[in-house]
């Protein structure tokens, strides 16, 4: 295996893993307990979905709204899995493990190395997914412990942490006009629906915008 794969995988693992601290802080600030916060990182293990659960519950949304928002964001992991399966060729317990670490970054590393070496691509997937899993969970615990010690979230500015985190996750997706229009339309729809529906539902309604925008794609 080439050294570039090890270097790429490790640096991404540490960089992305440390963001788990931000999730730990935000989740506790949203009202989840230390145990619930750590359970999300261990079991759910998909950043945007985890922030969605904390965000929707923190805003007073129901458990069903939180699950739906999280699930809609997690759909893409299914597409990553379908893309990775022919490369990984794993069964049984290994497929269960591979599934859990099928996230944005492990898929991206594998795709980046797939052209040059299938073996590097596979190693990159496992190293990056496993590395992020380790650092993400450690950082979540540290972030949650830190936030627990702070007290009132708004006093420390933590009420701005979750929207800023969502903006940070959204930013790299705004690369073309269609994506930007979808984002603007979703902001407008969510704000129009906020006074009309119970918390959490306006976010789920945003799924209508990509269905309208994506329907017109030619096959």
């Amino acid at each position: 295996m080439s050294r570039a794969v090890i270097r790429d995988s490790l640096s991404i693992s540490i960089a992305v893993g440390t963001y788990g601290a931000a999730f730990g802080v935000a989740s506790v600030a949203a009202g989840l307990s230390l145990l619930q916060t750590c359970a999300l990182s261990l079991l759910l293990f998909s950043g945007a979905s985890q922030f969605a659960v904390a965000g929707v519950l923190g805003a007073g949304g129901s458990a069903v709204s939180a699950i739906m928002a999280s699930a809609l964001l997690a759909l893409r992991n299914g597409f990553y899995g379908a893309r990775m399966a022919p490369l990984l060729q794993v069964r049984g317990v290994k497929r269960l493990l591979a599934s859990q670490i099928t996230i944005d970054e492990s898929t991206a590393i594998a795709l980046a190395h797939e052209q040059s070496s299938k073996d590097d691509a596979r190693k990159g997937f496992w190293l990056t997914g496993g590395g992020i899993y380790l650092f993400w969970n450690l950082a979540t615990l540290l972030g949650a412990l830190g936030a627990n010690a702070l007290g009132d979230p708004a006093q420390w500015g933590l009420d701005a942490t979750i929207p800023a985190a969502f903006l940070g996750l959204l930013w790299p997706r705004l690369t073309n006009t269609r994506a930007r229009l979808v984002a603007v339309g979703s902001v407008a729809l969510a704000l129009i629906l906020t006074p009309l529906l119970s918390p959490g539902l306006p976010i789920i309604a945003c799924v209508l915008i990509p269905i309208i925008a994506g329907w017109r794609v030619r096959s």
């Binding site: 805003a59 009420d159 997706r173 979808v182 984002a183 906020t194 945003c206």
Partner: protein, 99 residues
């Protein structure tokens, strides 16, 4: 109630990941489905930014969170690191909360 959200969201996310690994890739290859799936995170994340910034339960309000978000946007425009951006937004909101 929080636990049911934690467990339910985790189970569904794992189900999607595992199903993706297990079904033939061609089932998800339709261009319309692929395009919609690609845009769903963009829509939800944008909706979440809006609601988390302006909503107070079912009310729309403008408060220190908007200032935090504006600073976050500037930081992202300047290609700041994710954690630096979050800290800048958080500190901005904290300062405005004090005054």
């Amino acid at each position: 109630m929080i636990w049911s959200a934690v467990i339910g969201a985790s189970l569904l996310a794992f189900a999607f990941k595992y199903l993706g690994q297990s079904i033939p890739q061609s089932a998800l290859a339709h261009p319309r489905i692929a395009k919609i799936a690609d845009l769903i995170p963009t829509a939800l994340l944008a909706g979440l930014v809006a609601v988390q910034t302006f909503a107070n339960k079912s009310e729309l309000v403008v408060d220190q969170r908007l200032a935090g978000l504006a600073v976050a946007a500037i930081a992202l425009y300047l290609r700041a690191n994710f954690l630096v951006m979050l800290i800048a937004a958080t500190v901005t909101s904290a300062i405005l909360h004090q005054i």
